[in-house]
Homo-oligomer: 211 residues x 2
DNA sequence: AATTTTCAAGACTGACGAGTCTAGTATATA
DNA sequence: TATATACTAGACTCGTCAGTCTTGAAAATT
């Protein structure tokens, strides 16, 4: 395992890493756009500017390519941990987090990926785990960490930061995520922001520091 | 339109309503089980004990049948409004509602229907609306009504019952719904119940009556 | 009884898509 | 240079599936 990165010299022309990257890029784009059934290997080959045979030579079959594409995609999502500012007042921080999270949740891309993953999780349980651990779980852990910190600083009273993080994030989903998932007319920006503020306020009431 | 229910006599053998019902029943079962792409018209015909031609004669094409099947299914979901007891203490009532709601959310069937509907909503926006209005929206309205009532009785302080209902229900989704959707190992019953109780408690702290 | 329509069984068409194969060309190593 | 492999282009196999068509029987109306 120590030489994992070492290239074993084999005779003949080596496989082009550039082509491999191109295929994966096209696969990510098409699969997250159209889903597994809605995307043919020919489509991917064409989008990657490569022959179908090359796709098979690099990835073996459609399923393998799909799993890799989903994994790749999931690693690009989630809330940026650097966003956290432990000094800011919780109200400000939670409002900021809330707005970002809702923005992420309702983006057409996130909706599509979520949808593709739930559908595929039925047949490939591995994919469900992949998405869950690289996506939502990361975000929950970032928020839970923040809440635990505020608890220690006595800015909030959150004895169970894990529960509280799930509560906060799930609460935010609200009507907005449903409307996005079911392809319905979005709420107005004012309605959406009013809801987010209401969530932050109620969360702060429930987890106010004990006097 | 006044004679909508009146049967217009036509010569020849009338279409069998029993067969129509059988086809729709089989369609609901298969579509919610395997999704749109995963179910062929031949499968439905066979499951209904009917010839393919009969399916087409009753419903015209696959899409129409699918839309009808989803509509039928959605009308069978949601929280029973008769469950509401305005006299019981809010803590008891919310805990009961919470447990039922989580049970509903994580049932394999609900997960499948939700998944099929989000996937299909991309191509048939009507279906998204159907599911949303017959499913989640009903439940939110029942809970919002209950909270408004408790507000009037001064058992809780909930000036915006709509927001509060979304918050309460979405909060409950938590990790449990994700695990169900992504086909992961379920939480233990104790963990699940601890989370639900934590949600009810935090909701009551946030919306406690003002003294 | 004559007529009209439903229904079953199954053949059929046309499209699509996963995966294989071939023949020829390009690019690497020894 | 000889050899091994990557790659292209496109033909090809094989299976699936939506929707149509045919034939003959069953069940309703007049």
């Amino acid at each position: 395992m120590a030489q994992a990165a070492e290239k074993v010299r084999t005779p003949g022309r080596p496989k082009s890493v550039r082509k491999r990257r191109e295929i994966l890029r096209a696969a990510v784009e098409l699969f997250t756009e159209k889903g597994y059934e809605g995307t043919s290997v020919d489509d991917i080959a064409q989008a990657a500017g490569v022959s179908k045979q090359t796709v098979y030579s690099h990835f073996g079959n459609k399923e393998t390519l799909f799993a890799l594409a989903v994994e790749t995609k999931c690693k690009q999502s989630g809330i940026d941990p650097d966003l956290i500012d432990t000094q800011a007042p919780p109200e400000t921080m939670l409002l900021e987090l809330g707005r970002r999270f809702v923005g992420l949740l309702t983006s057409p891309e996130a909706v599509r990926v979520h949808c593709v993953c739930t559908t595929s999780a039925e047949t490939y349980p591995e994919l469900g785990r992949l998405f869950f651990e690289h996506g939502p779980l990361q975000t929950v852990e970032v928020v839970a960490g923040y809440l635990a910190d505020q608890h220690r600083r006595k800015k909030l009273y959150v004895p169970e930061p894990g529960h509280a993080a799930w509560q906060f994030l799930c609460m935010l989903k609200g009507e907005a995520q449903m409307r996005a998932q079911f392809n319905l007319r979005r709420q107005s920006q004012e309605d959406l922001d009013a809801y987010i503020k209401s969530c932050v306020a109620m969360f702060l009431r429930a987890y106010a520091p004990r006097t």
